[in-house]
Amino acid sequence: MTTIEDTNTSQQRSKAGNMTMMNMVGALNLAMDDALRTDDSVVLLGQDIGQDEGVFRVTADLLARYGKDRVIDTPLAEGAIIGGAVGLAIYGMKPVAEMQFSGFAYQAFHQVEQHVSRFHNRTRGRYPMSMVIRMPYGGGIRAVEHHSESREAYYAHTPGLHMVMPSSPRNARALLLESIRCPDPVIFYEPKAVYRSFKEEVPEEPETMPIGKARIAREGSDISLIAWGAMVRPALEAAEDLQNSDRVSVEVVDLLSVSPMDTQTIVHSVAKTGRAAVVQEGPRNCGIGAEVIARIVEHGLMHLEAPIKRIGGYDVQFPYFARERAFLPSAERIANGLREVIAFE
């Protein structure tokens, strides 16, 4: 068992040994396999996660390996999956529930808000809500309505929950395993556009990383760009482009966990660069970007040489997929936003 210690280089070789190249789907599957193998209180629940292996195949082979009492196909009712998970957690099990898409998790939102986030507090510590609610979120897969939204702010706004958003295969695996081991409830938002978009080396040995720690995805000195989830890839691309075209050095902060949020890493970066921008997929109003900026202003205002810019994240409904490519923040749009902040004198 190892921990990703140097969060700057998630590509770093694990001391533990063999690495395998895999995409995020494989990495998430590996984390659940680790958990099912090592902790017999872990059960997976969800729609079509067993025989069908999940609509994105994230639970591939797990039914075959662990049987139908560990990998449980449920009827089609999100509220009962999460409400049932509350009961299972109270009874001492460790449910890992899959919502087929984050857009359908609202059918269970009342259970999350009224019970998952509260039972430990309500019962003065008697019933911890140790569970993970996994769900694919975000745009970019040409899906029908309700399959493309990013609503992490709903969960981050709810006291009592952790809200985790991995960005790459290796951190997805480490964070999911950590989330399953966490005694508190974790909403685990999986950037489905990243599911199969690239591969990364992931250690075969179980590896975790702490919830609530951001990572510096790329070091830079002129401006800090804060991103999370699926936006980390275009953010890194924009940073690379700006380096090449404008000789601007962009530091990319990957939040990984939007609640709790790693204020220190963000502010530390801004103290170094003096400028900042935030890119987000979800709506701007009261979004995570607003929270990031609030923290920079509270703790690092005097370091700022320019106003902070919010890139992307319009306060309209996510369009149907014919318009989604134009809508989603691209590397080019991010680079242009960064240029604006850099140009400010």
Binding site: T74, A80, I82, L88, M93, Q107, R124, R126, C182, T263
Partner: protein
């Protein structure tokens, strides 16, 4: 192709043993031993006296809004006594004596309505869920606990309370459906008290009975006289035995009546008639059960008076202990949110502590 009625596999029955006129069906009488019978009467009376006391305390501003259970004592007391300690009871919010029976100190009920989270903390070793405020949201939890029992192979059962209004919520249907699909050891006990605030039972569902909803989910439904403690006892007992033997869930509809206000913030004269209330007062479970016990010579006038005296003393003691436990620390609102409290919550706790200091607010403010 023929057209013919569809027969369903699942049972749907009605049960009454001790009727409103005091007549007993001797063949169905469970003949409770004297100790159990007196204990059940005592539990029912405790709920009644505590209720009365709480309404007064609300008027005096000593607790907040209170939801009384007057008229529903048989429905909740006779059910909870069917559960063993290793079983679980999942509560709605009108079952004060169920908490008491299960081992929660009586004052925890006062603490809940008095505005203290302490009223939701089960004592060590007690397997229960506290009052659930969002209607019917506790049914999936009961189902989930029963699911855990089934997955672990534990021979236990869950009793879960809900109201008639609660049967309209999605959570009711989703929990029933999962319980049926996985054949879980859970008993859903609906206290059909005819009203959900101002909405009468007929306006809540077009079903002739609530019990018949079980049929749709593939298990047995039982409608019983919820003001008849013997029927509630027998019906619940059978359902528990069946659940523990692997026979799956049961939906019990206990037909009863809320004799009092919905809560102390409610004025029922706006939506229901006095005649209706009068009619149901004649079916009050407490005198009905007392007369049965007197007739059976399980109690006499003197021993009944002694029960009354003991109950009043117990309620008075609970009120006293409640008043003595008002000193709480506002700072500990930060201490139970997480098992592992994140740094930022700890920092906010420090900030709040500083505010309290400046404002001169301490424990027992």
């Amino acid at each position: 192709m023929p057209r013919k009625p569809i027969k369903t596999r699942d049972k749907l029955e009605y049960l009454s043993i001790l009727d409103g006129k005091g007549k007993v069906d001797a063949a169905l009488d469970p003949n409770l031993d004297a100790e159990t019978a007196i204990y059940l009467y005592r539990l029912m009376l405790t709920a009644r006296r505590l209720d009365e006391r709480c309404i007064n305390m609300q008027r005096q501003g000593r607790i907040g809004t209170y939801g009384p259970c007057r008229g529903q004592e048989a429905a909740h007391c006779a059910a909870t006594i069917c559960m063993d300690p290793e079983d679980w009871v999942v509560h709605a919010f009108r079952e004060p004596s169920s908490f008491y029976h299960r081992g929660w100190p009586l004052e925890t009920v006062l603490k809940f309505w008095g505005g203290y989270e302490e009223g939701c903390q089960p004592p060590e070793g007690v397997n229960d869920l506290p009052i659930a405020v969002p209607i019917a949201s506790q049914l999936p939890h009961a189902m989930g606990i029963a699911w855990g029992m089934k997955l672990r192979g534990d021979k236990r059962a869950v009793l879960c309370y809900c109201g008639d209004g609660g049967t309209s919520e999605g959570d009711f249907h989703e929990a029933m459906n999962f319980a049926g699909v996985y054949q879980l050891p859970v008993i859903f006990l609906i206290q059909n008290n005819q009203w959900a605030i101002s909405i009468p039972r007929e306006a809540q569902t077009a079903s002739e009975t609530i019990a018949q909803k079980a049929t749709a989910y593939g298990f047995d439904g039982l409608q019983l006289d919820g003001n008849d403690p013997l029927a509630v006892y027998v019906g619940t007992r059978e359902a528990v035995d069946k659940a523990k033997a692997g026979g799956g869930p049961t939906l019990i509809e206990a037909v009863t009546y809320r004799l009092g206000v919905h809560t102390t913030a409610d004025d029922p004269t706006k939506y229901r008639s006095n005649e209706e209330v009068k009619k149901w007062e004649k079916l009050d479970p407490i005198p009905r059960f007392l007369n049965y016990l007197l007739k059976k010579k399980i109690l006499n006038e003197k021993s009944a008076a002694k029960v009354e005296e003991d109950v009043l003393a117990e309620v008075a003691g609970a009120v006293e202990r409640f008043e003595e436990s008002r000193d709480v620390d506002p700072l500990d609102s930060f201490d139970y949110l997480f098992v592992n409290t994140p740094e930022e919550v700890k920092q906010q706790r420090d900030e709040f502590a500083e505010c309290l200091k400046q404002e001169g607010i301490g424990a027992g403010h």
